[in-house]
Symmetry: D2
Subunit: 165 residues, 4 copies
């Protein structure tokens, strides 16, 4: 899985998404709940989320669908449906959910929030998609899910620490 | 089911949640997407959501748990866990999810957003819960789910109409 | 959506799955619960399930991934992961779930059962996959989901009829 | 959580479900996949599943609802709906799902299978429910979920070991 972990990081970067850009979202989600939160801690948490099998597969498959549609690899109708990013398509959110499910209900709330307000890199991806410069149908939901899962992991870790005190 | 539909509306009211108070949230969620949106249309949509079997059962069971914990009907530990409303409890979000699942991925996004920013009646319920004046552990998530489901239903109905044009 | 409905039926056929072959599974799942069950009624129900937006998209995307992996359209690692059909991959079940979620908890039970015992066409697809004659990683789960959803639809329709009596 | 873990084991026992009776199901699910499988290993795995926060809460809340309905603690309509165990109720499966989600897609398949064939203790609970001797509306689904989650945990642990070889 270590090889696939690296491939996931590289594939995200190739599509315009760095760990730093996801960390901005996570920092914003958690800054009111964690004292002395650093951007480095956000990045570390994101990297640990990106080691999970379910997360890796969802990202790699989702980006393969975005790229495949851009390159016209699928049947005409499938290419169109993916490129179109209609809000009733739903398969993009389903892949995002497979990331979120692993991280419990806090992840779900954070995902919905981030998917709605589209902060930082997610807003940028969304605009690239609307301008038809890049197919980001799956990518924007996946990034929202990674950020939400990472913020949720930080909340869980913090609550567990408090439990033990 | 008609009898249970009425019971659901009455039980919500008894716990401090009117259709009007949910309509404020739905209006706010949809006002940027629907021309000439009226509060009456929001109320109608909420009422139609409250006719669904899955929605009715989730609300009635969730409120029975809130009330049961208030009245100390369960084992001591269960009463405490429900009254505590710890963010790692998760069963409250699970019941909310059973409402949302029926309304697709737009409902999920709206739920997360509403659950995060806690607008109108949801903020009020949350404060009542924190002040230990009323157990709202399940109720606030259920109301967020009803609002999110209703906004999603309006979005679906609108998109279907556009599809046909 | 009518065009996509036809495309879905044709794409399933092209991959070796006819409506008749799915009807055998549905008949078997429902024969103990429905009096005078006919194979024609099973086929009709399957066709109505295949008209649902969520169902159509899940099938078309899943089969596009199976075919893409066969043809080596994706990055080497993605092709391998899809062709391998490891039980920890999970994205195939996630797509199947997006079909099942729409049809409630009876669909879930039926899906698990069918996915476990692999009756009729599902067993055949599974063997084709194991013999590396066809990539059926997504297809076998999708067919199980269509069958489970159809059996669930028949159960719901029957229970609703009984409710009204 | 250690106290709640013990409470969960005791509450299951009080309702007629021992770790041994769940182990019979798990053994049956896994005997074809694991060499030299012992009933002791099944019991150990079940106990480790019963330590998970999500699992504990789902079991305690579900059994509180079964017992509450038996004792007539809730509104008349709620008591009736829970005692009735109609297949369209769905909240019982929702609580079961919150256990299963944590253990991935193998757990889902196992759950559906077990919920359908109702082996060992699950069949017994189901008959007690049908004979109105005990309300087992939530309990039978919860036991199916514990068994499915445990079998899935064993499969994951085995596959991880193979990965490392």
């Amino acid at each position: 899985m270590e090889k696939l972990h690296q491939l996931t990081i590289n594939t995200l970067k190739e599509r315009g998404v760095t760990i730093e850009s996801i960390a901005e979202i996570v920092y914003d989600l958690q800054k009111d709940y964690t004292d002395n939160l650093t951007i480095e801690y956000c990045q570390e948490t994101i990297l640990s989320v990106l080691k999970k099998r379910e997360v890796i597969y969802a990202i790699l498959v989702g980006i393969a669908l975005d790229k495949g549609a851009e390159q016209g690899l699928f049947t005409k109708e499938i290419n169109e449906v993916i490129l179109d990013d209609n809000s009733l398509f739903g398969i993009d959110e389903i892949l995002a959910l497979s990331i979120i499910n692993v991280y419990g209900s806090i992840a779900l709330t954070n995902f919905g929030y981030v998917d709605k307000i589209k902060p930082f890199i997610i807003g940028k991806l969304n605009r690239l998609g609307e301008q038809k410069k890049q197919c980001t149908t799956f990518l924007d939901d996946l990034v929202a899910a990674i950020a939400a899962a990472s913020a949720s992991k930080m909340a869980h870790d913090r609550l567990k620490k408090e439990d033990n005190v």
